[in-house]
Symmetry: C2
Subunit: 207 residues, 2 copies
């Protein structure tokens, strides 16, 4: 058995580090690039670098942006007093893709996770509280709603609770909501896991 | 709904063109790179370019190689008169990974596919026949075996037949074999498709 040339092995190892790509797919991708026209590799490589140099974080919501302020935060028609708090920019994209959310966002950059040494200070939490404080303190009696849309995982729930507690300290009148969880649409009750099912029962609504 | 910044959309479109990566995975990969340390993007981008500039085709078997002649063809211990004909370099890797094949390879670079305008001249077929001719014609009576390991698809089978006919014209004494096909190990007979099952029946062996 003969080893692959080093440049190929190196590229495979980079692909393997991407999420959802195992050793087999990584090899397949590398071999695809070997056989692709050399323009493709050149442009692909340039796109990777360009994205990194041209994309920054919006200084209001910390989502991805080409400008200092992203198009959502800069849009006067969006309701600036409804803030949906998400873990990552890609979650913001998922909600944007629904097409009917009219508020703005705040991207935390992760969740509180003591096992992986991610504490509140490693996330964009102070900036969130700062935003809320400046809105709540303006005394105009506008209703501020914070929708906490972290994932319904253990860490996501803990982060949601942490945020709720802190916001309550800032101003009791802030409306704090959590995205619903329960059975996904189209799911089969028989195959639902216990945690999801018990959440679905707790979250039952009058018809 | 707000559009993603152009550099992100561009990178997503590159990822989408890679095999087995749909729009969702492509987005996920691009966002992963946004959040990864900028060294990772830089090195990844460099690895893509390096592989393209440093990898060439072996001038004997047309497999990937850093040198003019790949380590398999250049290895005196490999049986140079047993040639396994494969479609792509990655197929060569799959057989190498078995660890017990002692012959050499010939990478066609695809299969004959009239629908996609791939004819015999677009593949490394003449070079294969040249290799065989030089071995068969040396008069030392060495047994030459050509193992045709193209995929058991319609195009792969047609290419195998084409190669067999041409080799028969060169020298009738060449041993030509085709890799076995039938039920994959661990498969359930009940769920096998008809073509595979009928091939498995044809290919039955005495016990």
């Amino acid at each position: 058995m003969v080893e692959l040339p080093k440049p190929v092995r190196e590229l495979i190892s980079f692909f393997e580090r991407l999420p959802g790509i195992g050793p087999k797919s990584a090899t397949r991708l590398a071999f695809y690039l070997i056989n692709a026209p050399s323009d493709f590799s050149k442009n692909f490589s340039r796109a990777v670098i360009e994205m990194k140099t041209r994309i920054k974080k919006c200084r209001v919501c910390f989502g991805v942006s080409e400008e200092d302020v992203c198009p959502v935060c800069g849009n006067g028609k969006r309701i600036q007093t409804t803030i949906c708090v998400v873990e990552r920019s890609i979650d913001m994209l998922a909600i944007e893709n629904l097409g009917d959310y009219e508020g703005v966002y705040h991207v935390l950059g992760g969740v509180i996770n003591p096992l992986e040494h991610v504490g509140p200070d490693d996330l964009e939490l102070d900036s969130l509280f700062g935003r809320v404080r400046s809105m709540a303190g303006n005394g105009h009696g506008v209703e501020v709603e914070i929708i906490i849309a972290t994932s319904p995982t253990m860490e996501g729930e803990a982060t949601a609770l942490y945020i709720k507690r802190k916001l309550d300290e800032i101003d009791q009148s802030i409306k704090i909501t959590r995205i619903g969880s329960g059975l996904p649409i189209g799911a089969d009750l028989e195959f639902a896991d216990q945690a999801t099912l018990s959440r679905a029962m707790e979250g039952r609504k009058g018809l």
